[in-house]
């Protein structure tokens, strides 16, 4: 879900972009030509100070970042502040920053760290990662109306909900990144601060094991 922003100086610097060989018919860098660039190239442009590269990065990742951020807290303005500050610092330190895996993962990692910090600063009661009333990465398995018997249906729904409750915040975060954001194990490792990929796989495996009862309920569901 990318959106275009019209900034006044987007098409100004033509010639310096020439060697990158990504020009449209009118000889200027545009959003379409940026789409075909890989992250390393795009980041290069951003580091050179091309505003169009920044607005492209912003447009590509804003939605995903915001959704991710809002999994940590109910306070949406905190997420807004964290995003804004993150982007400002990104621009200030663009020369020093080198992207290793992907831009998305770099941004997710920055945002995650910042939100946890801001939550601490503002005494957000959801700070305590495991024991909070507000559920981080609140998750549901949507249930269609397959069962005719209302009683069984509501019973199972309740059980399913409780089964999902057994999954810890960190496990749910990993599930979110894996199935919702489409990150790979390496990226999740980096994002959540694990030392190796095996730990990530273990975490996901345990999450799925916790979902055992949820899963079997889910199977029951579909057997009817």
């Amino acid at each position: 879900m990318r959106r275009e922003l019209n900034r006044p100086n987007e098409n100004r610097d033509n010639n310096s972009d020439f060697e990158l060989g990504k020009k449209d018919a009118f000889g200027s860098l545009n959003q379409d030509s940026l789409n075909s660039l890989d992250d390393v190239r795009l980041w290069e442009l951003f580091r050179e100070g091309k505003e169009i590269a920044f607005s492209h990065i912003y447009g590509t990742h804003f939605e995903g970042l915001f959704q991710y951020g809002c999994q940590f807290t109910k306070n949406e303005s905190l997420v807004e502040d964290a995003l804004q500050d993150m982007f400002i610092e990104l621009r200030e330190k663009r020369k020093q920053t080198i992207i290793q895996t992907s831009i998305r993962n770099y941004l997710f990692t920055c945002l995650r760290r910042r939100i946890l910090l801001y939550k601490k600063k503002s005494n957000d009661y959801t700070t305590n990662f495991e024991h909070s009333r507000f559920r981080l990465f609140d998750m549901e398995i949507s249930t269609e109306q397959k069962i005719i018997d209302e009683q069984i249906k509501s019973d199972n729904k309740k059980k399913l909900k409780e089964a999902i409750k057994l999954i810890t915040n960190r496990q749910r975060e990993a599930i979110y990144c894996l199935y919702y954001e489409g990150l790979n194990y390496e990226e999740i490792k980096e994002l959540m601060g694990f030392t190796n990929i095996r730990s990530v796989r273990n975490l996901v495996y345990r999450a799925l094991a916790h979902m055992k009862s949820a899963l079997s309920l889910f199977i029951l569901w579909n057997c009817y």
Partner: protein, 356 residues
């Protein structure tokens, strides 16, 4: 039942393996021709795992997480702020944000109490005017407070207005039309209900304030030279109303900023404001900060609905008064001021006499 459970346990392992497989996940989330072919073949080679296969697929598709609405306004607001480079209060050294948060959570509770009070007010108060007149098809509603009375009003769109003493607002009964427009004289605090499709505009004699998902205070008493907008949250756009030109200078405010317009010379000043001073009236707090004598009189008259008569007013020339009165009676306030400023006073009926 038990048979089904055994079935479930048997399939658990291959189910998990499938769920852990990133190629499988990618295919479920975003099927591509080549991956489609791959999984078709896989299924042909593993007919016994067909059930797990379908389940794993369905499970991934049915996982749901909380989703927030990411409006264009939000998208653009953060983009603009990023370009401006002004970081939030979490980064800057002053701890204003803590005060702000406290104020807000306190207000959630207070708002409910006031809402209850407001409902009873509707039934019992004679001082609360509710004059409604027909103009064409829509009704214009006017809500006004006499001196000495404050109220909270719910607008048809869910916006909450705290209306100060001697103030009034006017709006269409159903907010029909493409904008939500409120006329204000006096002072009010607005907690605007979000509706990206309909702008919320407050008009006063000197300016119009356009809100974008916002909480802000507008002070526009006709008797006072300085009119002020103070933004607590969100974003507002302010335009002077004495200019007919639509393209006239638009001023955007960030939270914590205020804009003052002086009626006498049309001068405008943009600055940060002290939330205590500007917003505390809603909590029943009178806040004087180096106030001159005329300001003290003006505020007290309005707050308590009395007339103040002063003898030997020239002695009050060099006044500067700072204090805070939290839901105090006029008697207590007068006693306090008279101690520090050394004057006599009497309160008789609707009149207060100050004698230097």
């Amino acid at each position: 039942m038990s048979q089904i459970q055994i079935m479930a346990f048997k399939s658990e392992k291959s189910l998990k393996l499938l769920l852990m497989d990133l190629n499988f996940r990618d295919w479920v989330i975003q099927p591509k021709p080549e991956t489609k072919r791959y999984w078709k073949t896989w299924l042909k080679n593993n007919p016994d795992k067909k059930e797990d296969f379908l389940l794993a697929k369905e499970l991934i598709q049915k996982l749901e997480f909380k989703r927030v609405e990411v409006s264009d306004e939000r998208y653009e607001k953060i983009f603009e702020k990023t370009l401006l480079g002004k970081k939030s209060n979490y980064v800057s050294k002053n701890q204003f944000f803590i005060k702000k948060l406290d104020l807000r959570s306190y207000w959630r509770v207070a708002a409910m109490l006031v809402a209850a009070a407001f409902i009873s007010l509707l039934y019992f108060s004679k001082q609360f005017h509710n004059s409604e007149g027909m103009t064409g098809q829509m009704e214009m509603i006017t809500k006004s407070n006499d001196a000495g009375r404050k109220s909270q009003i719910y607008l048809p769109d869910g916006t909450i207005v705290w209306l100060n003493s001697k103030s009034s607002i006017q709006y269409k009964s159903d907010f029909s039309g493409s904008i939500r427009s409120v006329n204000l004289s006096g002072e009010a605090y607005f907690e605007v209900a979000k509706d990206p499709s309909k702008k919320f505009i407050v008009k006063t004699s000197t300016m119009s304030v356009t809100a974008i998902g916002t909480q802000f205070n507008v002070n526009a008493f006709s008797s006072v030279d300085r009119h002020q907008v103070a933004l607590a949250e969100g974003k507002v756009m302010v335009q002077k109303t004495d200019k007919l030109n639509e393209d006239d200078q638009k001023i955007y405010l960030d939270p914590g900023q205020s804009l003052s317009i002086f009626k006498s010379n049309g001068q405008m000043i943009q600055s940060s404001f002290d939330p205590k001073k500007v917003l505390s009236w809603r909590d029943g707090v009178i806040y004087f900060d180096d106030a001159v004598f005329e300001e003290v009189v003006e505020v007290l008259e309005r707050w308590y609905g009395k007339t103040i008569i002063v003898q030997n007013i020239e002695k009050a020339k060099a006044w500067q008064f700072s204090s805070e009165f939290n839901n105090e009676t006029l008697e207590n306030v007068m006693r306090n001021i008279s101690y520090s400023k050394n004057f006599e006073y009497t309160i008789e009926g609707e009149t207060v006499k100050i004698i230097f």
